[in-house]
């Protein structure tokens, strides 16, 4: 039986009613992964213990102990640690690194009996918006294989969009879940900063990073989030349950139109306006809003993030683990290991971060950025007293061509314009498909983004499901 186009919900019903086993389901996905991965390069590795995992899940189901994700095949981004498996961050410097422990989210998923199919390709250490910065070749967009799948969680997005997994985990530092979800036609959710423990996820920008799901539906994204969320003593930013707001019913949507006056493709903008119109018909109130400091968000991001990158990636030196390259002396060992082990974009960001933190420049760049960040946070706080949710397009354009922006870092960075503000402020945000636009005769997906206040993650699922309802009519 060929099992495809399944959501968690449909797979759950098939499993729980005994129509299929977890082994059937897993093998069906593995077969497709092996077939289609040559073209897509979504997976860096398909695991060889999938059948054993599925057999354990079948036992749980037989014993009546199945929970939401028991037996559900999931793809994991290569920067999240699964004990005993390679976790390389799609970098040469960690290409031989075998994880010595499970990330917190992996522990949670194991408890559920979810099936880890493999580890997915990504921009090296999650730095990029196209998955072209992987040391192991680019991933292709299943909707048009000449185009990028977004990034940095591009392998996770291509795996779900190409039906090589039902769901996937990604990480989002400046849009790395939402942007690939948008350009691959999926739902991508970045939780409130502190909602999901990052223990066992490779740190990139520690004040920005969050783990979250990529899925085919809002309900699936919510199901995964409910499993992986929760307080964890191993992540000092972890927030208690009491912080999260329940029983919210979002009614008023703020639209910061001043933020999309330039740089957004006309057909993306009209898809967005049509979506807003549908929400209005559904009974939502639409309010024009202004976020005065949001125009600085991208600049703030490209100071704070590289600063944190240069600090976090200092640990990769080939001494205790990883791939060492010998130099003439000890200093030469470090220089060669890091010079050869890191890819071009990683090297560029480390140097940029080193610069903005260096003596004589730290006040003008890093400290000033940190101050402007506070103003952006304040803007969000003020606006969320007036509206429940903010809506924007997720990206200014659909998926671009592989190679189109790789030599123009600023053009690549502009891809993150609508997604970084949520990371800067630490608030939750979700991207949901809002149809397609046409490029060279191909229909390419685009997404709408909803942002809510701290801890109001659930309100994004509510409005997201409403949006799916009106959109699919």
């Amino acid at each position: 039986m060929e099992l495809q186009h399944l959501t968690i919900e449909t797979a759950r019903t098939l499993l729980d009613t005994g129509k299929i086993t977890a082994v059937d389901l897993a093998e069906s996905y593995i077969r497709r992964a092996q077939e289609k991965n040559k073209e897509l390069n979504a997976y860096l590795e398909v695991f060889d213990d999938v059948r054993e995992q599925a057999q354990r899940a079948d036992e749980l189901i037989k014993e009546g102990k199945a929970t939401a994700l028991t037996g559900i095949p999931i793809a994991i981004k290569d920067n999240i640690l699964i004990k005993g498996h390679v976790a390389s961050g799609a970098s040469k410097i960690l290409s031989n690194y075998v994880a010595t422990y499970d990330a917190h989210v992996i522990e949670q998923l194991k408890r559920e009996g979810a099936i880890f199919l493999g580890r997915t390709n990504m921009d090296e250490f999650a730095m990029g918006s196209s998955t072209e910065n992987s040391a192991f070749g680019p991933t292709k967009n299943p909707h048009d294989t000449t185009r990028i799948p977004g990034g940095s969680s591009g392998g996770s997005a291509a795996a779900v969009a190409g039906d090589l997994a039902i769901i996937a985990l990604g990480t989002d530092t400046g849009g790395s879940i939402r942007q690939p979800a948008a350009v691959c036609g999926l739902v991508g959710f970045k939780p409130t900063y502190g909602a999901v423990s990052r223990y066992g996820a490779m740190a990139m920008g520690s004040s920005l990073d969050q783990i979250g799901p990529l899925a085919k539906t809002v309900a699936d994204a919510q199901t995964v989030f409910e499993v992986i969320r929760g307080i964890d003593e191993h992540d000092a930013t972890s927030l208690p349950e009491s912080f999260f707001k329940k029983d919210l019913t979002p009614k008023r949507i703020g639209v910061p139109r001043h933020f999309f006056t330039k740089g957004v493709d006309a057909d993306v903008l009209s898809a967005f306006e049509a979506s807003i119109e549908k929400l209005k018909e559904k009974g939502y109130e639409i309010v024009d809003i202004e976020l005065p400091n949001i125009e600085y968000a991208l600049a703030v991001y490209y100071i704070i993030m590289p600063a944190e990158v240069s600090t976090n990636l200092a640990r990769y030196d080939g001494v205790r683990y990883g791939v060492p390259v010998q130099g003439d002396d000890l200093l030469g060992d470090y220089m060669q290991t890091r010079g050869k082990g890191f890819g071009k974009e990683a090297r560029r960001r480390i140097l940029l971060g080193t610069f903005v933190l260096s003596s004589g420049y730290v006040d003008a760049y890093y400290r000033k950025a940190a101050a402007v960040r506070e103003n952006i946070k304040k803007d969000f706080k003020t606006i969320f007293e007036k509206v429940d949710v903010i809506a924007t397009p997720t990206t200014p354009s659909p998926a671009f061509k592989i190679g189109e922006k790789i030599n123009d870092p600023l053009a690549m960075y502009a891809e993150d314009i609508f997604t970084v503000p949520a990371n800067i402020a630490g608030v939750p945000a979700i991207s949901i498909p809002m149809g397609t636009v046409e490029r060279e005769g191909k229909a390419l997906p685009v997404g709408i983004q909803f942002i809510a206040k701290h801890g109001a993650d659930d309100s994004l699922f509510l409005i997201g499901k409403d949006f799916e309802d009106v959109f699919n009519v």
Partner: protein, 94 residues
């Protein structure tokens, strides 16, 4: 445009950069810096507020049993001998 000493940055960051890339970075980094410098125009009063997050410390004491991770960590080491990490000699007695 801000003058950037790539050689010095590369040494600070412990990253060997070849001549060709040096040229590229000499172009890219000032261009990126020019873009991010727009934050200098950001006005408004800067008030640092206390956020929801604060450092959470564990209790003093042993976090885990001694040796619980030793084998796993040793097996990840590029140069390991008799339970030790081998590093290059750093004292030159020349």
């Amino acid at each position: 445009m801000t003058d950037v000493d790539i050689k010095k940055l590369a040494l600070l960051a412990r990253i060997a950069v070849d001549e060709e890339e040096m040229q590229e970075l000499q172009h890219d980094l000032p261009e990126i810096l020019e873009f991010v410098e727009k934050i200098q125009q950001a006005g408004g009063e800067i008030i640092k507020e206390v956020g929801e997050h604060y450092n959470i410390m564990r209790e003093d004491g042993e976090p885990h049993d001694t040796g619980a991770f030793t084998q796993d960590m040793l097996s990840a080491m590029p140069h390991e001998k008799d339970g030790y990490l081998r590093v290059r000699k750093i004292i030159d007695q020349g």
